[in-house]
């Protein structure tokens, strides 16, 4: 199977994720879109690893997963806290820095 197809899929997933981040207001959805983008990147790394025939890409994919896990922990904590204080998970409501 042509390795380029994986890359196309990766680009597609990344675009979906990016568009999701920009257009959706719900923090949980934005969060899932970010996960989508990270995993799109992981897919690219793994594909490049396969194409080049070494394991560098695979290793970096692991790193990305660790970072993503951390990010989920911190991010969810923030979202929960915001939800508790504001009774809303809309990221447009959390624009206090402007004022």
């Amino acid at each position: 199977m042509n390795a380029a197809n994986y890359l196309y899929l990766s680009a597609l997933l990344f675009t979906i994720g990016a568009v999701g981040v920009v257009v959706r207001r719900n923090a949980i959805v934005v969060f899932m879109c970010i996960e989508l983008m990270l995993n799109a990147a992981n897919l690219s790394f793994v594909t490049f690893s396969r194409i080049n025939g070494d394991l560098n890409g695979q290793v970096i994919a692991f790193f990305t997963m660790v970072v993503a896990a951390c990010e989920v922990v911190v991010g969810l904590a923030i979202i929960v806290t915001i939800y508790r204080s504001r009774r809303s998970a809309s990221i447009d409501d959390a624009s206090l820095l402007k004022r």
Partner: protein, 629 residues
């Protein structure tokens, strides 16, 4: 030259007094004035001791030096801080310390009610030390230190009562106008160093022979500028009248007897330069002649007794400068007039202080009158000083002033006749205004305010006045008896052939006395016969109005220097604000403006930030793609 180890005490004693009084502060309030007077007196006795030593040596061995320390040493250029005492300096040393001590004694009583009397004595001692350094320095650079020192002391003492804004302004004015003169002295030193490579008196004297006339003229002119500043000569004379803001002993010591004569000392000390630079010497004479008339004319219109005496001082120093400008024949007479003037003018100033002391510090002579009966001693001492300044024989001024008039007449040609006539006329005007002072103050009807209770001053005040009065009676005779002072000073000055005599001494004395008699007579007719108004009349001639305003000297300075200066400052301030401040503010404004324009991007919405990050990332990738393609 003989070296000495005791010269330094002349300066060290009063300097130590000043330091102790200033550092000890209020603790020395009780005894500070006594210490200062004792130290000034001991300096006088050191001077007398030096004089006795000097008298015991032959003419050529009289000058002595003392090296204090190596001051400047750069490669081959060396200047020592060293002192030199010769026949000229000893005259000044004795005048400064002698009159200075008398004025210290006088001030003990005069300033007794002033809470800051200790500070006053500290400054007086500082002045004595600085003035002694001025006359004892063996190079122009050492002289310059003393020159600045007396300027400082003068500033501090004029503004001694600086809680009054007008007095503080007067001291500032004196300081600023003196700076112009000081600049002249520093230029003279620089020219001397550049052309001769030395600044010591002996070195410059030797180098004169192989120095261009242009350089010598330049040095001479700059020295003259210095002398006009310190000695209140035209055109830098305007500060002296205002300097009377200081306590009266200060006016007597600094602004009559000693400091203002520093210019005469400078010119006499630099005789070798002026003898070799005829242009500069001629200008010295002209300045002297202008100032002696200038001061005399101002003196005729002043109602403030101290300002009248200040104008008289200006005029008498004009005589000295003129005498010093007449070359080798005139130097000794200039110094003689300086010494006799030191006695009679200091005596008269102290007399004026005594009158003020008895009259609630009133200085307006129109509020005096009939004080002869109430202050007999002041009247007698002032009167002797008056006779001395008039030049009535056998009082001091007769010998010294007539000598200058005679020398002026005999200086040859049209110059001699003009100068002679100016000095004669000056003598007549001097007689007029001094008689006016006498009549307004001591005779006629009383015109005091009701609260005035005139009384004679305590003995601490009249004793110095009496001693100075004795000096004003005898000093002229003693100094000119057998040409004592002329012979004493003669080793210092070049000698030239005798001038032809235009007028004999008898004729000159007769003319001078006639002028004096006319001046006195006019004053009597004008002020003794008629009632004197206690308020200055306003319907007076334009000449009186101008003379009352010091011949418009302040107006002139304001119009020619101050206002253009202020305009220049205003332009510079505007330029500073518009260009330099404008540039700085412009940078700030650009940063602020661009910041507020860019602030719109910061919406606070996470999604717009995310979009921007995405956009940036895409742009970055696109850019890399384009570059690597």
């Amino acid at each position: 030259m003989i070296t000495s180890t005791t010269l330094v005490y002349l300066i060290a004693l009063p300097l130590a007094g000043s330091a102790i009084l200033l550092l000890a502060g209020r603790r020395s309030d009780k005894w500070g004035h006594l210490l200062a007077t004792a130290l000034s007196a001991s300096s006088f006795f050191v001077g007398l001791y030096q004089l006795s030593l000097m008298l015991g040596r032959s003419n050529s061995e009289r000058p002595i030096t003392q090296k204090l320390f190596e001051w400047i040493s750069v490669g081959s250029f060396k200047i020592d801080a060293s002192l030199m005492l010769d026949q000229l300096s000893i005259c000044f040393v004795l005048l400064i310390t002698g009159v200075g001590t008398l004025i210290h004694i006088y001030s003990i009583s005069y300033m007794s009610h002033d809470p800051d009397r200790r500070r006053f004595f500290a400054f007086l001692n500082l002045f004595i030390a600085a003035m002694l350094l001025l006359v004892l320095g063996d190079s122009y650079l050492n002289l310059y230190v003393g020159w600045e020192g007396v300027g400082l002391a003068s500033y501090l003492l004029i503004g001694f009562w600086n809680q009054k804004p007008a007095y503080a302004t007067a001291s500032k004015k004196a300081f600023v106008m003196n700076r112009i003169g000081d600049m002249g002295l520093s230029f003279a030193i620089m020219i001397a160093f550049a052309t001769m490579g030395t600044v010591s008196f002996s070195g410059v004297k030797e180098a004169v022979d192989h120095t261009s006339t242009a350089a010598l003229t330049g040095i001479g002119l700059m020295l003259l500028v210095a002398a006009t500043g310190k000695s209140a000569q035209f055109p830098l004379q305007a500060w002296l009248g205002d300097a009377m803001a200081g306590p009266t002993p200060v006016s007597a010591l600094i602004h009559a007897a000693t400091m203002v004569t520093a210019g005469v000392y400078l010119i006499t000390r630099s005789n070798f330069i002026f003898d070799a630079a005829p242009t500069a010497q001629l200008l010295v004479v002209i300045i002297g002649a202008i100032t002696l008339m200038f001061g005399a004319l101002i003196g005729t219109a002043k109602d403030d007794i101290k300002k009248a005496l200040a104008a008289s001082t200006m005029s008498q120093i004009g005589y000295m400068i003129l005498g010093a400008g007449l070359g080798p024949v005139g130097y000794a007479f200039a110094i003689m007039h300086l010494l006799t003037h030191g006695f009679f003018k200091a005596g008269m100033f102290l007399g004026a202080g005594s009158v003020m002391h008895g009259m609630n510090d009133e200085v307006n002579m129109r509020k005096y009158g009939a004080l002869r009966k109430f202050m007999p001693i002041t009247f007698a001492t002032f009167g002797l000083g008056y006779l001395a300044i008039l030049g009535v024989p056998p009082f001091a001024g007769f010998y010294s002033k007539d000598m200058i008039i005679e020398t002026a007449f005999n200086s040859g040609g049209a110059k001699g006749i003009i100068l002679g006539c100016v000095t004669l006329l000056g003598a007549g005007i001097t007689a007029f205004y001094m008689t006016r002072v006498m009549i307004l103050t001591f005779t006629g009807k009383s015109r005091w305010d009701d609260e005035a209770h005139p009384h004679e001053s305590p003995w601490l005040m009249w004793l110095p006045m009496a001693i100075l009065a004795i000096g004003s009676v005898t000093s002229g005779y003693l100094l000119s008896h057998g040409d004592a002072l002329v012979n004493w000073l003669s080793p210092l000055f070049e000698h030239h052939g005798e001038h032809e005599e235009l007028l004999s001494p008898m004729v000159v004395s007769g003319l001078a006395l006639a002028m004096v008699a006319i001046g006195v007579a006019i004053a009597f007719v004008k002020y003794s016969r008629n009632e004197v108004a206690s308020v200055a009349p306003t319907d007076v001639s334009i000449f009186t109005t101008i003379a009352r305003q010091d011949l418009l000297q302040d107006r002139f300075n304001e119009a020619v220097f101050m206002q253009p200066g202020q305009a220049l400052t205003a332009v510079l301030v505007k330029t500073d604000e518009a260009v330099i401040d404008g540039a700085v503010r412009g940078v700030g404004r650009v940063a602020l403006g661009s910041g507020s324009a860019l602030r719109g991007v910061q919406t606070g919405f996470v999604r717009s930030y995310a979009a921007l990050i995405l956009l940036g990332a895409v742009a970055l990738v696109a850019a890399i793609w384009v570059v690597t393609q």
